[in-house]
Amino acid sequence: MRTAAAVVTLATASLSLAGCASAASGDAGSGTKVTIASWYEDNVIGTSIDAANAALESDDITLEYTQIPLDQYNTWLSTQLASGEGPDIIMDGASFPARVAAGNLVDISDETVVTNFTEEGLALATDADGNVYGVPSYGWFSGVFYNKDLFEQAGVEVPTTFDEFLDASDKLKAADITPLAAGLADSDKAIHSLMGYLENAYYRNGEGSPEVDTDFAYGEATLDGNWNDPLEEWSKLIDHGVLTPEMVGVPLSQSLAEFTDGKAAMYISGAWDYQAIKDAGLDFGMFSHVGNAADNQWLLGGPAASMGVNVDSKNPDAAMKALEALASEDAMQAIVDANPGAFSYYNGVEGDFPAEYELVAPLLAEGHVAVGWDRWGVNMPAQTMLDTLTKGLQSVISGQQSTDDLIKQLDDQADSIRY
């Protein structure tokens, strides 16, 4: 009897405790609470949230930020949106167009907040009719970080074309240095390598053009017949042992350690890894993804997560105010300041470019930043294509399938997910 009573008491006690805990936080703060979530860590987005909160104080609105792990984010957000829930301010990257297509976002075309951003910055958040549903938090790009000491040791110059890149890798290998560190088990490094090559050797300088992607998005072109030759060429990276089957079994964070420990000479990444590399005390720089034209190089990049107002928000007015605060000059400046190398699509906000970016800064100034999957996003959930591409490339690199198989896989996937 005593055990039974204890169990019942415990059950009621803990249930009511749990209930209290939830009630308590609901009442916390007399003002309006606006929620926002993304996969960005505090050191990326924290200061801009603080800046927005400072601006919102007079309206008695608090912005509450939640970080969700990146590989859970898509599912996490989709689940909520599908049941008419979700954060008041929706943040998403490659899937932002999918959220627009699903009608999850409020049309903000007529809001003044939109006027501060460049057209490229709004591209991901604009539908086919020209209506705008969000603003970009900042701009990202990726290139190739390289270890200057190791390059010198192996007598290697910074490559400006794909052939030079292969040469450089061979020389590094001859000097017993791992040319490239890449953890392909849980990252999209192979995608950046491939898409960076395609942007340079196919879309901008080769036989293709960015329109191929638009046609592909609308089902008027297939990748088969377009991508085959350039992909075959890119796969020389595998033949030359730059990308290896072993990399498929390496977690991302360990591959970064290979670069920061000075074991590998190159690492494909962007501003998000700058601080970790800097902290390791390396003498490093960054060069662009390479293709076949040294004088027309392109970085991979575009708008990072865009932000918009959830149509199902319970406080649409407060959410709109919060979006304005997040898209204010102060908050926009805060986010690029927190991420050395990030740039802004907000007119007049300049990012800080440390000396390590001297080779790529001119490309940014020219606007040579683009990425294929943003062009696909107009008519298909690009994140799904990225997931398929990640897995397909793992299979290619580990020798399970050919590049032509991969192309067919992508075409098939696209056929089943176009809007």
Binding site: S78, A82, L184, P245, V248, Q254, S395, I397, I417
Partner: protein, 329 residues
């Protein structure tokens, strides 16, 4: 099985001896029914009230979502369209013809069977040894069971560092230390599933061992004595006494092992995320992937198919448990 005690205690109904329900006695039966029924309700009500809370919670948080999933599986609901239409069994047709799913089912089956077989191959002999008079039995038992209290998620991350194929991987460092070559544990499509299986054998064989130990303790020592009196040697008494005594435990480890093996999810997500390529995708990771791609209808149809298959296995499970019950009572 005896009648319920309440019925036995109840004074016999003032009727004549039970007769075949036909003709005149039917009318007589009808007359008495209301009172008897009310009494029966009153007698059963406390029992109903005791089951109800469980059924309500289970119904709300399990049955309703499953029904919702079943309905969802007949639609094309997705994350990129606000309009949803009824498409009948189209999702099922796609699920059953998708080559990735076929491979996923294979991986789940291989995983479930391999884990069950390997765990048992390890757990059974270890349990027999620990049941004998060997030193440090308690310490061994504590150590072997230990990994079972760890979170699968953390175990997955830990092992992905142990298995890592670059210079930092523990296992490869050891292999290099003894002069062997690096092995691409998680990056080789032919090895990746095996590596995952190894971690789960590591984590759970101690758990199965505890179940075998418990079964060994339920074996009546007199049975060994009787076997010895019959002139049975060690091997013979093992076969005639120990093994039969272990059958209930064996059934439990096999059936629950198979069911939870088919449901494998966390460890795959945390170690390979289904890769390299699709080499370690299981039914549930694929379902999760379709869901995360926003194909809710399709993902739901996987879920329902999985439920149907599981129910088949489940009815087997139920029969096993029923048999166990009669064995014990």
């Amino acid at each position: 099985m005896p009648h319920a005690p309440a019925e036995q205690l109840r004074p016999p109904p003032p009727t004549t001896a039970p007769s075949p329900r036909s003709g005149p006695s039917l009318a007589a039966g009808k007359k008495r029914r209301p009172g008897a029924a009310r009494a029966q309700v009153r007698r059963n009500l406390p029992y109903v009230l005791m089951v109800l809370p469980a059924l309500i919670i289970f119904g709300i948080f399990f049955i309703i979502p499953v029904i919702r999933t079943a309905l969802l599986s007949l639609t094309d609901q997705s994350n990129h369209s606000r309009e949803t239409s009824f498409i009948g069994l189209e999702n099922y047709a796609e699920a059953l013809t998708n080559p990735q799913i076929v491979a996923g089912i294979q991986h789940s089956l291989i995983y479930a069977i391999a884990v069950v077989v390997l765990q048992n191959l390890l757990a059974l002999p270890v349990a027999l040894l620990l049941h004998s008079k060997i030193p440090f039995r308690g310490a061994f038992r504590t150590i072997f069971f230990g990994p079972a209290v760890l979170s699968v998620l953390v175990v997955g991350y830990l092992w992905s560092y142990v298995f890592s194929s670059n210079d930092y991987g523990l296992l490869n460092t050891v292999l290099r230390g003894v002069g062997l070559a690096n092995v691409n544990w998680l990056g080789d499509p032919n090895l990746a599933l095996g590596s995952i299986i190894a971690t789960q054998v590591w984590q759970w064989f101690g758990y199965q061992m505890v179940i075998y130990l418990a079964a060994l303790q339920t074996i009546n020592p007199d049975l060994y004595e009787a076997a010895a009196l019959d002139g049975a040697g060690r091997w013979k008494s093992f076969c005639s006494v120990t093994l039969p005594g272990l059958i209930p435990a064996f059934q439990i480890t096999v059936v629950t092992g198979l069911i939870s093996g088919l449901k494998v999810f966390d460890i795959v997500i945390s170690m390979t995320n289904g890769g390299p390529g699709y080499a370690t995708e299981t039914v549930l990771t694929l379902m999760y992937r379709k869901f995360s791609e926003g194909n809710y209808g399709l993902a739901a149809s996987f879920g329902i198919l999985f439920l149907l298959v599981s129910l088949l296995i489940g009815s087997l499970l139920l029969r096993v448990f029923r048999r166990l019950e009669t064995r014990f009572s």
